[in-house]
């Protein structure tokens, strides 16, 4: 028999409890079922051989409720508490070991010993002081080493354990049996100062490293901290405060000024201004009214409103952002592969080098050869720092992706962050990316002398376009709506992709579309051309209307450029990145818009399905290409690009085809994302150069390669200080990324 607790969703009253209990008890294999309304849980005792969790869930579902296993996520608080406890423990060990090491040094260091009280000079006292340092403060090293040996693996702790044990063990031998070392001509001098101080310094380095490392995941903690705890839900006409995990889709929620919006939803009643900066990075508060979408965890500024929950739990925008950032921080950058490969062999190689050092110094070194051999071998073990290599890339990726998220730049994985710094060309889709995507009619031009139907142009065009789904059609229909134009009936409506539309009004054949359509229809547009050209030169898209084969008028439509477009492009140009605009518009219109934005390379008259091919053409020029689009219509082009950048839409953040999603909808963030990538990569490279360089240079020094030339050796104490500084400096360097301006 097994006892399990499941969460139950959808209970309202005591009768629900009985219904669910009965449903569970009637399931074969269940011996006991207790449902608790307050905690919304069911405690079920059952035979797992007869009945599965899924069967229990379906029994509950059959009576109209939902049972599920609550994820055994360890609460953030518990995790934090454990980290704090570990840090406090580490601090105790640091203070303890450094204090005792200081006493030992006072009693043994040449020059200092004259200042020390007599008893500290006694090597038995030094033994007593060094022993708890070795076996209590240094216990974590042994605790890591022994189980690792069972797995035939070794790490950083193995090196420290072997190194300090060698120094401590030799010192004990010297203290207890001085005659043994004396018999081989060595003065019986212990090295308790080495063993104790090395442990103290390494622990100190580890303490600083742990504190710094906590800073690398700050961004994600901030995001998690944004989540609202409760929601004021209107149920049965009453307002009740509910814990956030009990809010269900469809709940009506009331939000007052200054309050946090608990989950994602759609406003039913009321209006307000909402500050979404904490989630989307969008800096200006936006006005919201009924029908508008609101994002959970953002702040309601001015008004009170009621809204319907549309996304709860793991579906909310914030939860999706957290998941995406966590995934990015868990992914590996290609640049890390080499460090991974080296770290797999690193520790065994260092142990081998230490043995080699011992043998060489013992066999070929000066007198007392044994002491030189021992101290240099210990120095090799202590100086080696595999941690710095392991930390170099992931800490920078964590800070970089977190920094991006804070600014509304969501990076899918470490690889995307790495690739973005190599981008040389950025292709922008025009409609909906550089422009707002809501074109408006700016001019309605009647072409004189053609039947005097000028006043009806908008009416004919709007009647015809009523059946079309194109965004330009929408502009014409809404203009007609605005001017209260009565629409006429259309027969045989037909859309001609890439050209326009046709149909019959009043038994007359009407066509509306671009010049290509007019050519196809063999309609002469010569005397409208000057007007058409001048409209297009203003960046407007012009549609031509013809009735029964005769030109009657022009309708010009224009989309508003996004506020951030010009600055966004300027920023890229400053970075010497080529900017390309891709659009279905004709050359003249496209050129005019490009001119307004300062874009020099324009790919005009590109049909939607050709965008991907255009991206590939640019890649064939040997350049790294980023494509910026809306993520839906441009998905193939985004996927084809080296870096696909999608502009955020609504509350969906995980855009499949995109490597980077700009949820702040700000075009300046394209340059910011590339800058972030460049800075992150610079930090990673610097970290790796440091981590590799440190080991490549200092291990040979510790082995004594400089001794024949300069008589220089590295004391194990200096080795431990260098090693402690090494990993701290890598983590601190990654943390500097937080201060970078993007």
């Amino acid at each position: 028999m097994e006892k399990k607790i499941f969460q139950i969703k959808g209970m309202h009253c005591a009768s629900c409890v009985r219904v669910i209990e009965n449903a569970l008890k009637n399931t074969p294999g269940v011996s006991e079922a207790n449902v608790n309304l307050a905690t919304e849980t069911a405690t079920v005792t059952f035979d797992p051989k007869t009945v599965s969790d899924e069967k229990l869930f379906s029994s509950v579902a059959n009576v109209g409720y939902q049972a599920y296993v609550k994820e055994q996520a360890v609460s953030e608080d518990a995790e934090e508490a454990e980290k704090k406890k570990n840090l406090a423990d580490l601090k105790r060990r640091v203070v303890f070991s450094l204090s005792l090491a200081a006493l030992i040094i006072l009693g043994s260091f040449p020059g200092l010993e004259n200042l020390a009280p007599g008893f500290l000079k006694n090597i038995w006292v030094q033994l007593i002081l060094a022993t708890p340092v070795q076996f209590w403060a240094g216990l974590p090293f042994y605790k890591a080493t022994i189980p690792a040996f069972r797995h035939r693996t070794a790490n950083m702790d193995t090196l420290i354990a072997i190194g300090t044990t060698a120094a401590y063990g030799y010192s004990v031998l010297v203290t207890v049996f001085p005659q043994i070392v004396e018999s081989v001509g060595i003065a019986p001098m212990p090295y308790f100062d080495v063993s104790a101080l090395v442990i103290g310094l390494i622990l100190l380095g580890r303490y600083f490293e742990a504190r710094a490392k906590a800073g690398t995941s700050e961004a994600i903690k901030k995001l998690i901290g944004l989540q609202a705890k409760t929601a004021r839900v209107v149920r049965d006409g009453k307002e009740i405060d509910l814990p956030i995990d009990q809010v269900v889709i469809g709940d009506m929620i009331r939000v007052r000024p200054g309050e946090k919006i608990p989950v994602d939803g759609e406003i039913l009643e009321g209006d307000s201004s909402v500050d979404e900066s904490m989630v989307t990075g969008e800096s200006i508060p936006g006005d919201k009214t009924s029908g508008d979408t609101v994002i959970g965890s953002t702040i309601n500024k001015t008004g009170t409103f009621t809204y319907k929950a549309t996304k709860v739990g793991s579906e909310t925008m914030l939860a999706q952002i957290i998941k995406l950032v966590q995934e990015a921080q868990g992914s590996k950058a290609p640049i890390q592969r080499l460090a991974d490969l080296i770290s797999a062999y690193f520790v065994p190689i260092v142990i081998i080098l230490a043995i080699l050092t011992f043998v060489i110094w013992f066999d070929f070194g000066p007198v007392p050869a044994f002491l030189f051999a021992l101290l240099n071998a210990v120095a090799v073990l202590i100086i080696a720092c595999p941690c710095a290599m392991g930390l170099a890339t992931p800490t920078a990726i964590m800070v970089g992706t977190g920094k991006g998220a804070e600014h509304g730049i969501l990076i899918k994985d470490a690889e995307s962050l790495e690739t973005a710094h190599k981008v040389k060309v950025v292709v922008f889709d025009k409609t909906g990316t550089l422009t707002v995507g809501k074109p408006v009619v700016t001019d309605v031009v009647s072409v004189k002398g053609e039947g005097g139907r000028g006043e009806n142009i908008l009416q004919i065009a709007a009647s015809l376009e009523k059946g079309s789904e194109h965004s330009l059609a929408e502009a014409i229909v809404s203009k007609a709506d605005e001017e209260k134009v009565k629409l006429e009936k259309v027969d045989k409506f037909k859309a001609i992709p890439g050209h326009g539309v046709e149909g019959f009004i009043d038994k007359k054949r009407v066509v509306l579309g671009n010049q290509r359509l007019m050519e196809r229809e063999k309609i002469d547009i010569t005397h409208a051309r000057p007007g058409l050209v001048s409209l297009e030169e203003e960046g407007k898209t012009v549609m031509i209307l013809a009735v029964d084969g005769k030109l009657v008028g022009l309708i010009a439509v224009m989309d508003t450029l996004k506020e951030s477009a010009k600055e966004g492009i300027e920023a890229l140009r400053k970075m010497k990145i080529e900017v390309v605009m891709i659009t279905g518009d004709n050359q003249r219109t496209a050129k005019a818009i490009g001119g307004q934005l300062g874009i020099d390379r324009i790919l005009a008259e590109v049909l939607p399905d050709q965008k991907e091919a255009e991206v590939r053409k640019l890649q064939n020029e040997g350049k790294m290409v980023a494509m910026v689009g809306d993520g839906i219509n441009d998905a193939p082009a985004l996927a084809a690009a080296d870096v696909g950048i999608a502009m955020g839409t609504g509350t969906d953040v995980a855009i499949e085809a995109a490597d980077i999603t700009l949820i702040n909808k700000d075009l300046r963030s394209v340059a910011a994302a590339i800058t972030l990538s460049k800075k992150t990569m610079r930090t990673i490279k610097l970290n790796l150069v440091w981590a590799f360089g440190y080991n490549v240079v200092l291990i040979p020094v510790a082995m004594g390669v400089l001794y024949p030339f300069f008589g220089l050796l590295l004391s194990p104490i200096f080795a431990s200080a260098a090693m402690a500084l090494s990993s701290v400096s890598v983590v601190s360097n990654s943390l500097l990324l937080k201060r970078v301006k993007i």
Binding site: T153, I352, V359
Partner: protein
Amino acid sequence: MGIISEDKIIVAIVGSLGIIFTWWFFLFKKEKETAVEKEVDIIVSGGYSPEVISIQKGKTTKINFIRKDSTDCLSEVVLGDFKIRKELPLNQKVTVEVTPQRRGEFPYSCGMGMYHGKIVVR
């Protein structure tokens, strides 16, 4: 030229044996693969037990990490190919789910890349 003393010869021989032993001990261990159907508990203590698991392509496998070792290095596990980085609080079960879409060998490691394991997708 003096004769090389006995102790130097002994140290050289013992040292060489030590080097060979170290190489063999750490780098020539046999990987034992554990086939996993749906769920597996991996004990994290001085490494991962089992260290190498094989799972099925396209099927979701639950991997429960239970850390018994207080070594700081092991307090995080990274399954880079599956975009998973998880904190492993001491003595608590932390479950990750993977649904591999392609066959191959996918290494996983501790946060600093010191301890290694492998997921083999068949």
